[in-house]
């Protein structure tokens, strides 16, 4: 099915490429001691050619800001000084379902900031769908 759709849309499916499809759910729940950090790894790359980050939904959320950096931004959590370093290319928040950020992953690094509940009495949820498109490994994928 997917092959047929790809052919219909592009005329030339991306032969030799593989897509990693991920659903992420980040939870901030004070009563359950859930901390709501959607990017605990900090600034990073995905080993992909193209990365797409698509918002599926936000419930009772503040924060969750996507930042895109130049390649010379150090890995890990960024600090306030980094924000004025000239290495920050984009800072934006995906607010509405279907908002999507697409990155050329080999050319930039990215991170997302912590989320917190707007109403502290209820849990916060941030649901995201990501696609990472890369040349397929020759030895296949693991899993069971």
């Amino acid at each position: 099915m997917l092959m047929a759709l790809l052919s219909a849309v592009t005329g030339e499916p991306l032969a030799g490429y593989e897509a990693m499809q991920t659903a992420f759910r980040v939870v901030f729940d004070m009563q359950a001691d859930e901390d709501g950090d959607p990017g605990p790894e900090g600034v990073h790359q995905d080993s992909a050619d193209v990365t797409a980050i698509l918002l599926v939904g936000r419930d009772n959320v503040q924060g969750g800001v996507n930042r895109v950096w130049t390649l010379d931004q150090p890995s890990g959590k960024s600090c306030d000084a980094d924000l004025t370093s000239g290495r920050l290319l984009l800072e934006t928040t995906l607010l509405h379902p279907m908002d999507m950020l697409i990155l050329c992953d080999r050319e930039v690094r990215h991170e997302v900031t912590s989320v917190a509940p707007q109403d502290a009495m209820h849990r916060a949820l941030r649901d995201v769908l990501t696609y990472e498109l890369r040349r397929a490994p020759l030895d296949g994928r693991g899993g069971s």
Binding site: A23, M100, L133, G143
Partner: protein, 153 residues
């Protein structure tokens, strides 16, 4: 800071993504899959990011799943900081088989894979980024003249 351009979306993707019925189903779509997410684990079966739950599958360009029915293995990019005792691989729960033919997911995959080749990069100031807003969230698209808005840094 931003320059803007309007993207042209293939009709098939418009049909799947912009159909009102499809969009209205987004909450049901969300409720079908996202509650299944669980924490990824390291080589010892320990949760890595307990509050960042995930579900992963890999697909070839012919649409065939290339990872397992129950779990998937992710190889972590070396730019990701990890504690020294963690492996560079992670195990995620896999998407259910029904997701492989879910029209919403297929439409999003097609949209994503078709975008980089479809949209011009000039005269935009930075070709590495694209930010899209769904037209139903964009007042400028009211009145039925919908197209995705493409903002490039």
């Amino acid at each position: 800071m931003h320059t803007t351009a309007t993207a042209t979306i293939p009709p098939l993707v418009e049909l799947l993504l912009l159909d009102p019925g499809t969009h209205d189903d987004s909450q049901a779509f969300r409720g079908t899959y996202w509650p299944r997410t669980i924490a990824q684990t390291d080589q010892n079966g320990r949760p890595v990011y307990p509050h960042k739950r995930s579900m992963v599958s890999y697909y070839a360009s012919d649409g065939q799943r290339t990872s397992g029915a129950e779990t998937s293995t992710e190889f972590i990019d070396p730019t990701t900081e990890v504690p020294s005792d963690e492996a560079w691989t992670r195990t995620h729960i896999a998407w259910p088989q029904a997701a492989d033919v879910d029209a919403n997911l297929v439409a999003m995959y097609v949209h994503f894979t078709s975008c980089p080749a479809t949209w011009p990069h000039t005269p935009l100031s930075h070709p590495s980024l694209t930010l899209l807003q769904h037209p139903s969230n964009n007042a400028a698209c009211a009145g039925g003249q919908c197209s995705w808005r493409c903002y490039r840094q």
